[in-house]
Symmetry: C2
């Protein structure tokens, strides 16, 4: 019958639409999600058992995209600074989805997807490496830097959505602020 490919395409398309809509309106109805995806509510329920399952699928998608981004960023190569810049650049396509998931505090209360722990570990390792090499300061903990990175990604995604930051500046704004801060440097 060969419909599995079509199903997968539809499912992915639905997830993308849902992510785009829920990023803007996190309280959107299943009906609104369905309309945004161009399908009926019945079909939406055939793909995702309920709203919970949809959010979980979005969570899994966000984790998968982040892990793929970290893979592409080759975090072990070069200096920690360059690794952070590559990481931010590769994460940009998933920024909107991440911003939505970051605001879904419902996910963190009990037992979240272990994928978040894996991501935290991988990202935190970059900051640990930078500290051990003497590249990064040691008074800002890797845990905080990781958390701050998430927050800056969500903030920038929001600012982009409102037109306050240009999409082309995403990487520069986040990476430069996270690495160098607002102060001018004496030596360039």
């Amino acid at each position: 019958m060969g419909y599995s490919c079509l199903m997968a395409l539809d499912r992915d398309h639905v997830l993308r639409s849902a992510a785009a809509l829920l990023t803007r309106k996190s309280t959107a109805t299943m009906d609104e999600v369905a309309k945004a995806a161009g399908i009926s509510r019945a079909t939406l329920h055939r793909h995702f058992a309920g709203r919970d399952a949809l959010v979980r699928a979005l969570e899994a998608l966000g984790i998968a995209e982040c892990e793929a981004a970290l893979d592409r960023a080759r975090l072990d190569e070069g200096s920690a600074s360059e690794a952070v810049r590559r990481m931010v650049r590769e994460i940009q396509p998933a920024a909107g989805l991440l911003a939505f998931l970051y605001g879904e505090n419902q996910l963190w209360e009990a037992d979240g997807d272990p994928g978040w722990l894996r991501l935290d570990t991988r990202i935190g390792a970059v900051f640990v490496r930078g500290q051990q090499s003497g590249e990064f300061r040691i008074d800002l903990t890797p845990v905080w830097l990781t958390e701050a990175l998430y927050g800056l990604i969500a903030s920038c995604a929001w600012a982009m959505h409102d037109g306050r930051v240009a999409p082309k500046d995403f990487t520069h704004m986040i990476a430069e602020l996270l690495l160098g801060g607002a102060l001018r440097r004496e030596e360039s």
Copy 2:
């Protein structure tokens, strides 16, 4: 009859409780909000016409606390860096409430309280001053720095709530990251 003072105290107490609860569980019911404040749902409705009015009141409270914090921070005095540090320190008591409001994207869609614009202007002015004095780099726009400050405050409030950041480190973690970034400085 002199009940206005008692009413005001009650109203403020209810707002504080609601802020503390909604920061943790943004989907809390009016009944849960009432129970958290130690009053009945009927009394809650006597103070705030509905959930919408409650959120609006929380928004007004957050704006007022932020403006008071900016007043205390004396943003025009000293270097821009020190102004930022004072600003973060004074904002800390309102961080939880701000984190809740920051995630309530419903507030920003149409016409928000003009108080946010006033706050953005006052905070942005600090970054403009730092750039004009040569203290801050100019490739990070004041608008983005303002947005990033909100994001870092929300992130740190969340990390504190989960125990990943100690409350005593709030000012240092945010101000140092925002100002100096993660990179080590050659000259201290």
